[in-house]
């Protein structure tokens, strides 16, 4: 198998794996298998999917340090766009099916988790818009700095989840652990980079 075929296969594998949650949830919706509050189940599923793909995206760089693994850095942009795709569907379905527009402003005031989620989405939007090659070229060095905002977005999403919990923090703990693990890796990189600069 030559390199090109391998690349194509990986590309399609990631594409299909990332697409799969969509027909899955639509199917459950159609056969009425989402329980008493299908809209809520749908919105939660889309949000969770987005966050999981986000963690996978963030794991790409650390994993690429293991030389025995095939590098997935090439597919990081696609993964990031899937994050944005599910986050958009999450927000869209929330707006269409869940929001009580009669009490929207009041609700917003009472639900800071919505604001935190919206901020995270804004960051993802900026990152998605600046993801094409042309934008990378144009932004030059600024691009990397801009795209580090993904860590802030991730943190906001974890807070978004945490602020909705009522009695059991297991889910938030899992997400927070992932976040800290990924961040600690980035700190590592950051320190290495710093010492390199100083040694010069």
């Amino acid at each position: 198998m030559n390199a090109k075929t391998a690349h194509l296969m990986r590309w399609w594998f990631i594409f299909i794996a990332c697409l799969a949650p969509l027909p899955y949830i639509v199917y459950r919706l159609v056969v009425n298998n989402l329980g008493a509050e299908p809209a809520k189940a749908l919105v939660e599923f889309l949000g969770e999917t987005s966050l999981i793909v986000l963690f996978v995206t963030l794991a790409v760089t650390p994993l690429s340090k293991f030389k025995m693994l095939p590098s997935f850095v090439k597919y990081r942009r696609m993964l990031g766009l899937w994050v944005f795709f599910y986050a958009s569907l999450h927000l869209l379905s929330y707006g269409m099916f869940l929001v009580d527009w009669r009490n929207f402003i009041e609700d917003l005031y009472q639900r800071p988790y919505v604001i935190v989620g919206a901020l995270a989405f804004l960051i993802l939007l900026v990152l998605a818009v600046t993801s094409p090659r042309a934008a990378i070229k144009k932004l030059g060095k600024k691009w990397k700095r801009l795209h580090r905002w993904v860590y802030l977005a991730t943190f906001l999403v974890v807070v978004h989840v945490y602020w909705q919990l009522r009695a059991d923090y297991f889910e938030a703990l899992v997400y927070f652990t992932f976040f800290v693990a990924l961040m600690s890796f980035r700190l590592d990189v950051l320190l290495a980079w710093k010492s390199k600069v100083i040694n010069k």
């Binding site: 329980g35 299908p38 009695a167």
Partner: protein, 322 residues
């Protein structure tokens, strides 16, 4: 005072039992009969009469006239019972791990008859009846459910609480080996689950002790074998799978008061004018709903039982006593 309330309720109930509610009831009865026929195990029923018919053909009063009864499927699969996990479908998945037969209830505190009672003895001599109540969760969803049980007052009177008893405290079974939510190390609830009522709330004729719903025994996820229903309070007050009843002079501290004192008060009466700190309580989603119709309806003061219960709180600031 109590007699007066009861008589006003009786008049209302005979007027409001609509034909559609009656027909609905017929449907449930035939459904539950079908369920009974397919069940494999001869149920060792809680009741001396020892068969499922103990829950059927009971006198029935509709306290939610003109409202559609929630399908059994919804009421038995969409539950909050954190002893079995915090997901809405967790209790239906895992509550069967709880042993409900045999069941005993500890009665203690300011009572003339403290002791540990078998459920059969607790229930002896109590007449079952069916009542259709609105059920409003603090999370802003609601259902309409036909419960089977009796007035809590009838049960409490059996235990002869002393006149100094001002409050009654309830405890859910605490059996970690059968309850995965209790085993969870990330839970912020201090088990066992504790709820409580002021004595006059407990003795109010609308307050109900429940052993069944939809003409059959309570499923475990709905709080088998013995649960409380206080229809004018948020659902979490209606404690499930009760293993202890205590009478006291001081106000018990409830689990949710401990877990979130600013969010959940002792009274927790349904009140559209007092919002939960994290969401509005003005409206509710009547379940089941669908994608394009959230089924949002206005929340009623005291869940629509204002006429019957408002006098319990006369002169109280309900914003402070949330």
């Amino acid at each position: 005072m109590l007699i007066k309330i009861r008589s006003s309720l009786d008049i209302a109930s005979s007027e409001i039992t609509s034909e559609s509610a009656y027909l609905n009831r017929r449907k449930f009865l035939s459904l539950s009969a079908a369920a009974g026929a397919t069940s494999l195990l001869p149920s060792s029923s809680l009741f001396a009469s020892a068969d499922a018919s103990a829950f059927q053909n009971l006198p029935s009063v509709n306290y939610a006239p003109g409202e559609k009864i929630t399908p059994y499927e919804t009421a038995s699969t969409y539950n909050n019972f954190y002893e079995f996990g915090t997901g809405k479908s967790d209790p239906a998945k895992y509550a069967h791990e709880m042993t409900t037969k045999p069941w005993s209830v500890v009665v203690n505190g300011l009572t003339d008859k403290p002791g540990t009672y078998n459920l059969e003895d607790v229930l002896k001599g109590l007449e079952l009846e069916e009542r259709v109540y609105r059920f409003r969760c603090v999370e802003a969803w609601s259902m309409v459910i036909p419960w089977v049980g009796f007035s809590l007052s009838a049960l409490l009177n059996k235990f002869q609480p002393s006149p100094s008893a001002k409050y009654v405290r309830f405890e859910t079974l605490n059996r970690p080996e059968e309850m995965r939510g209790v085993r969870s190390f990330t839970s912020s609830i201090d088990w066992p689950y504790v709820e409580g009522l002021r004595m006059d709330e407990a003795m109010h004729p609308l307050t109900m002790m429940v052993v069944g719903m939809y003409g059959k025994e309570l499923p475990n996820q709905n709080g088998a074998p013995l649960r409380l229903i206080v229809p004018w309070k948020y659902g979490f007050k209606s404690i499930k799978s009760i293993a202890r009843i205590s009478f006291s002079e001081t106000r018990p501290r409830t689990s949710w008061e401990k877990a979130g004192p600013s969010e959940y008060g002792f009274y927790s009466n349904v009140n559209p004018n007092v919002d939960h700190p994290r969401w509005s309580q003005k409206t509710e989603r009547r379940l089941p709903n669908s994608l394009f119709s959230p089924n949002r309806i206005d929340t009623l003061m005291f869940n629509g039982y204002e006429e019957q219960v408002a006098s319990l709180y006369a002169g109280m600031d309900l914003k402070k006593n949330y």
